[in-house]
Amino acid sequence: MPDPAVAVEGLSKRFGAVVAVENISFSIEPGSICALLGANGAGKTTTLAMLLGLVTPTAGVIRVLGKDLRTDRYSVLARMNFSSPYVDLPQRLTVAENLDVYARLYGVRDIQARVTELGRHLDIEGSMRREYRTLSAGQKTRVVLAKALLNRPELVLLDEPTASLDPDSADRIRQYLVHYQRSNGATILLASHNMTEVERVSTQVLIMRSGEIVDRGKPMHLIAKYGRTTMEEVFLHIVRNGDPADRQARYSVR
């Protein structure tokens, strides 16, 4: 039985009196795509940040790719990567310069070939000589995604990877991510608000509310369990179940 790609036990994070994540435990099978769902402020980004070592947990143990993040953080970071709307790339460097720098940081061999390959797959070949700051939001998203795949990571953490893309671009990116995951046997942890995307690509779903994991399972199983027809309905049910003054009732359109 291979080690889980991610194994989290009793993970908590408090910022002073604010509880961002409260005693969560989960594991992700290697070679799967797991979606992390939750309303804004549910604790998704904090959880991803702890998996990246950007935020130190208040309590709990994180094992990534079989290694304890407290003791082997840097060796693990070389084998994973991420994209997030909360961080950016140097604005005044060109796309090619940005990818060059990050490829070197991650120890990528044959940088030019890898950058060219990703440029082709993510449709950013024509933007390589442009400064990052001059790109559209959609182009920036694709460049950040290229950075996230530079080192052929075994684990990719993606925070809302298609949030600023038009439906056509988003669909192409999703297809490429699935292709990347299958052809490399990689594991993807995806935080997303796009329930169609989650239904389509993920094999496992974790749903967070107020810092806790309130449910988990395969998308189809969750849909059946709650007697709904889509993951969006499941999501709304779970999120609103925590809110006694159900907004759907207050703001329903007749």
Binding site: K13, F82, Y86, E97
Partner: protein, 271 residues
């Protein structure tokens, strides 16, 4: 997977960060011009002051160029500090700290990259002004010889130490303390004895001045220019203080990095 196995210290990663800062410098000629602009303006101003005092002050007349040498060496300290703290601020403006520290880059590797690029920027800025002083005022600071290297190295290291403490404050308090990066060094200017001997300061302030490596450097510079000898004691005092300050600054920076991780500040470092 095509990543290289873990290395505790990697010249490749430091090189990648230096390359990142060189790309930034190369991509903007106003940035390169800015490096040399203030040192040159300062040098021209103090060169004119020197020309005036050469005929009106016996002290300056004894060692032509003492004020120009002082302003150039002061700019070494100033540029070295800015080279660290301003470049670090650029990472914060770009919201790039999260990307960097989620990569295998260690904080101490970033520090080494920052001080390396600081050296490059200081050489561009002060080097240009020093070369221009030769045709403009017939004064070459390079004529100082080997002592110049000792002064340059000490001021550089002291500037890096101050720069790292400012970076630590930026990590801890965010860009709200940006003005410190520009202004803090001027707090030590009056007691560094840049243009006058430390003996000029009030007696109670002199012990404070001797706690600064810069005071020993500027006093040592005057000894070279007025007495034509290199004061080894002054050099040793500056070097010892610098060892202490750079170690303390590195500890403060690494501690601030851990605090930033605990408080989730690495993801909130933008404007």
């Amino acid at each position: 997977m095509i990543a290289v196995p873990e290395q505790v210290f990697s010249a490749r990663r430091i090189g990648a960060m230096i390359l990142r800062y060189l790309y930034l410098l190369r991509g903007s000629w106003p940035r390169i011009l800015e490096q040399a602009y203030w040192p040159t303006v300062q040098m021209i101003t103090w060169g004119l002051v020197t020309q005036f005092f050469a005929t009106n002050s016996s002290w300056v007349a004894q060692a032509a160029g003492v004020l120009i040498a002082a302003v150039l060496l002061w700019d070494v300290l100033f540029r070295a500090q800015l080279g660290v703290s301003v470049v670090f601020m650029e990472e914060m403006f770009a919201r790039n700290l999260g990307q960097l520290f989620a990569s295998p880059l260690r904080p101490y590797e970033l520090v080494l990259a920052l001080i390396s690029i600081s050296l490059v920027r200081t050489c561009i800025g002060v080097g240009t002004a020093a070369l221009l002083a030769i045709p403009l005022y017939q004064y070459s600071i390079f004529a100082m010889g080997m002592p110049l290297i000792a002064f340059f190295a000490n001021l550089l290291i002291f500037g890096w130490a101050i720069g790292l403490v400012i970076c630590a404050l930026l990590l801890r308090f965010g860009l709200g303390v940006e003005s410190l990066a520009w202004a803090s060094i001027f707090a030590i200017a009056p007691i560094s004895g840049i243009y006058y001997p430390i003996a000029t300061l009030p007696v109670w302030l002199q012990p404070v001045a001797w706690c600064l490596p810069s005071s020993h450097v500027f006093e040592g510079m005057r000894t070279v220019m007025f007495e034509q000898r290199f004061d080894v004691d002054r050099f040793a005092a500056a070097a010892e203080l610098n060892v202490l300050y750079i170690v303390l600054a590195a500890i403060v920076f690494l501690r601030a990095f851990e605090v930033a991780r605990a408080r989730g500040l690495l993801l909130q470092s933008g404007e």
